[in-house]
């Protein structure tokens, strides 16, 4: 059972301030903060899904590197740079909250308020670190060690969740959702950090093409796109089934989600293989 957490004065002030905002105060009073975090998880997830599509599109421009570089140059305005950095917020929130859910649901971690406190602290740190990379733009990542460690952590997370969950009688798709999520928490957070360590890493066609032609990176990207789109598709399906009862509307929407994710996967895989 959960024990009440002693909150600091700073935390109390933040909660009180947030509790005065119109929609937040309504749901915080009527359903609790965890309910709001769940909605935040959904909205962050949907934002990331939108970004995946945009990401596949921009990467497809790499077929004509000059167009890609011109677009990246065009996007290098303060507004787009800010938005690119701001993407770290839904990413870290969705990732860490996903981790919290895995800990609560599968590993019996009931000190949920402490986990949320860590979530906020680590989230802030991550957003600031990504922001510092945007300002500095000169960090030099060592590709092999960085990705070796990141992939190792991702595989360990995947394995731990797989061992814990696989024998349970939960729906297979639900289990895969948790397993893919566990893999992507470290992998995607690492990906965003890596891509923004300096400007060229994520915005220069030559640098990207050189990296993507490495069979190891190509393999990683293929795994990424498949896991990501499955995770996104099941997440959206899960939200839809909460609000739409049985019937043709549910079937049509399910078909639509599968179709969109499959088409995106096809283009994404084709892109990675061809580049």
């Amino acid at each position: 059972m959960e024990k009440a957490l002693k909150i600091t004065k700073v935390e109390a002030s933040i909660i009180s301030l947030m509790g005065r905002l119109p929609i937040l105060s309504y749901y915080a009073t009527s359903r609790g903060w965890s309910f709001l975090i769940s909605w935040g998880h959904r909205l962050a997830g949907l934002t990331l899904v939108g970004y995946i599509f945009a990401h596949i599109y921009t990467l497809s421009l790499l077929f004509t590197p000059a167009t890609f570089d011109a677009d990246m140059k065009f996007l290098r305005t303060p507004v787009f740079t800010f938005l690119e950095w701001a993407l770290a917020i839904p990413l870290i929130f969705h990732s860490l909250n996903g981790g919290r859910l895995v800990l609560y649901e599968l590993f019996h971690v009931r000190e949920d308020e402490i986990v949320i406190r860590w979530m906020v602290a680590l989230g802030l740190m991550y957003v600031l670190v990504v922001g510092s990379f945007f300002i500095e733009e000169s960090a030099q990542p060592s590709v092999a060690p960085f990705w070796s460690v990141t992939v190792a952590i991702s595989l360990i997370a995947l394995l731990l969740v797989f061992i814990k969950i696989w024998r349970t009688g939960n729906s297979i798709l639900w289990k895969l959702q948790r397993i893919t999520g566990a893999f992507m928490i470290p992998a995607l957070l690492g990906h965003m950090l890596f891509m923004h360590m300096n400007y060229l890493t994520g915005h220069d066609s030559k640098t990207i093409l050189l990296r993507i032609q490495n069979p190891y990176i190509k393999g990683m990207d293929l795994v990424f796109i498949i896991l990501l789109l499955f995770h996104a598709g099941y997440g959206i399906f899960s939200i839809i089934t909460d609000y739409i009862s049985q019937g043709p509307v549910l079937k049509s929407l399910t078909f639509l989600v599968i179709a969109i994710m499959s088409i995106s996967a096809y283009f994404g895989i084709r892109l990675i293989v061809a580049l």
């Binding site: 059972m1 959960e2 309504y26 749901y27 009073t29 009527s30 359903r31 609790g32 965890s34 309910f35 975090i37 769940s38 909605w39 859910l101 609560y104 649901e105 599968l106 590993f107 019996h108 009931r110 949920d112 814990k164 969950i165 024998r167 349970t168 009688g169 939960n170 729906s171 639900w174 899960s238 089934t241 909460d242 609000y243 739409i244 009862s245 049985q246």
Partner: protein, 236 residues
Amino acid sequence: MSTSYTITLDINRYDPDTKLSWVQTYRVEASAILRFVDVLRKINDEQDPTLAWSSSCEHAQCGSCGVIVNGKPLLACELLVKDGVGQFKTHTFKLKPLTIAPVLRDLVVDLEKAYDRVHKVRPWLIKPASPHPDGDEYRISPKTLETYSEATRCINCFCCAAACISTHHHFLGPNASMANMVRLMDPREMARGERMDILYREDGVYRCHTAKACSFVCPKDIDVSHFLALGKEGRF
């Protein structure tokens, strides 16, 4: 002498004969320690005898007076006017029927329909174990009992189900799922296979998203999400 408040109640009304729905506003002078069931009765006595609402024990034991007050599902017999004012920081309260079953009239919902979900999990001992050879009783160790006795406090008021983020199109609901969990944790239950099938059925426990609104609103202070998570964890 206790303080009194002038409170405004915006109540969702529904007439099954005309199928008309509307919101009706009542202004009530209420003592601070009146419960919301008392306020509703006061409206019946002094302003509008046609307003329908339900209650039975009025001691938070039967769960029949569940309503949604300013978005929060709760028992009208438990909420004092002063607590309502303090909790929601307002003197205006919007009262709606629980969203877990069709509305029969005003704040009264079809609890029979709501209970269908609970009945699906067969919340009794399907196959009871034999009693102890020395007597009629079945002995359960205090340590075992402690793991699930909290969940046995559930009165099926459906407040958790009304608050649940998963709604109830494809989910049995928190209270019904927990009722199954109680029997899974009960050493007297021998029909474990059937219980596991119920636990993991298509509208079973994995449809819970751990938003924990169930634990937040539970009038009996049961940490419902803890019990549901045990199912997802594969504890059994």
